[in-house]
Assembly symmetry: C2
Homo-oligomer: 381 residues x 2
């Protein structure tokens, strides 16, 4: 199968492809990138270059991605020529454009005030429309660019219309997304997978903890989550996957509100940081399931193997080289599972993650946190 994107998600797909007997052909921007280090069949090129994408799909059972940035028109053309694309571009657009996603989900959810819903939102084309929205829903409001935002980029918390960068209105003449600032207890993520023949599976709902808008820690399952809310969030994620025709893994990120509802924030159609815990923590990892799903192989069981599994990201910190701190962590905690992505260190860059599991949540969290913080150099003891 063909994979576009050379980051850690494609790397971890390759780690799952081996046991499945699936061979990957990668479109990589860099011959020494995270995924290119572990996949023999690599073509170099840009994901925005149609010829480069075409070069990897010949005879491939399916084309998939480790990011959502391949232009939809390229995928539509390939699809019309008979190349299976998973997820298909008709679904993928909902992970590429936040306004398209909000419109489609509003339609799909229908009933306002459902237990699993969207935040109150509007399309805003001018500062005056931001003001109207804020006056109606209460200030501050969140304003986002419909495309191109990630890890906190393309998002402002606006106390007034003047806080929204004026160039955004010019760059996105079809409008920006304005949204109520949700009063939330915590963030949750629902990870599901769906195959072209319609089989679907859902991992337990997890709690995600963001620091500076970047995923920092994931706790599986989300502690103390009411079963009714977990059920409603899971049911909504499975409906989204089905109605949008998603194939592969779909991550639905959202908020658990102070009044006990689940409000959708973002969609991602690929393995997702909130699912790295599944490598050790579930019978079937998100990477294995993504491959099984896009290839239309029968899906694997997705129950949790342990009472608690916690994943903490390792970001680039003060050490130019992680090797010594990595040794220390291995020696200190022989049960910690450290995953490195083979990437050069830059401050704030996702370089790896640590997963710990066990019966005592406080202990598991402390171990995973310590290991990740030690590797990056936040702590020295």
């Amino acid at each position: 199968m063909a994979v576009v994107g050379d980051g850690q998600l494609a790397r971890m797909m390759a780690e799952a492809a081996g046991p499945l007997g699936v061979r990957l052909r990668l479109l990589a921007g860099d011959p020494d990138s995270s995924a290119a280090q572990v996949i023999p069949d690599v073509q170099l090129g840009q994901h925005t270059d149609e010829a480069a994408v075409r070069a990897i799909v010949k005879d491939a059972a399916v084309l998939t991605f480790d990011h959502e940035h391949v232009p939809n028109e390229i995928l539509l053309r390939l699809q019309s020529e008979g190349v299976p694309v998973g997820p298909p571009p008709q679904a993928l657009v909902h992970a590429q454009d936040k306004l398209v996603m909000r419109e489609r989900l509003s339609e799909l959810i229908g009933d306002r005030h459902a237990l699993a819903d969207l935040p109150v939102w509007a399309r805003v084309r001018t500062p005056a429309e931001v003001t109207s929205f804020g006056d109606a829903t209460g200030w501050p409001v969140i304003v986002k660019t419909p495309r191109g935002g990630y890890d906190g980029k393309g998002v402002v918390v606006a106390g007034s219309a003047g806080d929204v960068p004026s160039e955004w209105f010019e760059k996105f003449p079809d409008g920006l997304l304005a949204e109520e600032k949700v009063d939330f207890r915590r963030e949750l993520a629902v990870l599901v997978a769906r195959s072209p023949s319609g089989q679907a599976s859902a991992w337990p709902v997890v709690e995600t903890i963001q620091v500076d808008s970047i995923c920092d820690e994931v706790i599986a399952p989300a502690p103390g989550l009411p079963a009714e809310l977990a059920g409603a969030a899971t049911e909504l994620a499975l409906r989204i996957a089905g109605e949008l025709g998603v194939t592969g893994v779909l991550a639905v990120e959202g908020f658990e509100t102070a009044d006990g509802r689940f409000l959708v924030n973002e969609l991602a159609m690929r393995p997702h940081n909130s699912g790295h815990w599944t490598i050790e923590g579930s019978v079937t990892s998100q990477f294995e399931q993504h491959l099984r799903a896009v290839l239309d192989l029968p899906l694997g069981e997705v129950g949790a193997r342990e009472k608690w599994t916690v994943m903490v990201n390792v970001l680039g910190g003060k050490y130019p080289d992680l090797y010594r701190s990595y040794l220390h962590v291995m020696a200190r905690d022989p049960k910690a599972k450290v995953h490195l992505y083979g990437k050069g260190v830059r401050p704030g860059r996702k370089l790896g993650h640590v997963t710990c599991y066990g019966d005592d949540l406080d202990d598991v969290r402390a171990r995973a946190r310590h290991a990740a913080d030690f590797i990056r150099g936040v702590i020295e003891e």
Copy 2:
């Protein structure tokens, strides 16, 4: 690091190397071999060709193997030039030559009639010596070539000296190995790992079930094994690793005798078929631990994650292509973990394995057996 050997063991090492952030350079006989399919940095050549082995060790942190067939003199030369070799040739010779191994272990065990011991054995150079041995220990006896045997090749059960192929005496002028035919309940394997700095770990002792002298099924841990016997076998395996200076994984295969002792049969110094269950069944897999050990990284925890883990090999059978039966197994048992090695089907060839785990041993065995038999075509329902 540099790896000689392109089979499934090197392939599964590569699956473990990714998360560790370790990059492999492979010496492969075939560019489409099992391991070469998943490792980008491949040199083609034969493991008996010193120049080919030299071509992969430049700048490598260590040289390791997925088999024991690299000539010891090549390894000794590389070692004398400062190339770290794991396991070192001084240890490896005990996995290459059964007489060298028996002599060394006899010395090491000392006390005859220990709970963990060797079968009664002798070096035999002529048919007359076979007759003397058989008359002394009782017929039939087992006669083996000291080198070059595997999966039942190079072994005869001799009711008299005439059953031993006469060319063996010519081919091995230093003698053959004659051994008592052990009255055993079942076969066991003890898997340990040791690093150059002397850290060592031991997985739970497993039961191995051979069919036609080929490993068919592994049950972890060995059901009903007395703790004292498990302890003695494990202690012996750790002593062997330490005294012989093994680095990496050491598999000690042996018999549980009718009178409740453990008798060593074979040594292997690399990840071993009896340890494939550790991929899902232990906190640290044998492949991860082998890499950690030969690189002198701190070792991982090796406890069992599940009450029972069972692995069944998938051998080449009647289907020229496994794909349809593979789909069926995935659909029927979403908890079964199927590992394929990317090898073409030949009858009797090891093509993959299936691992199942859970609390009910009969159920786990039945599921793993069904999946493996169905994939190879032994059963159709």
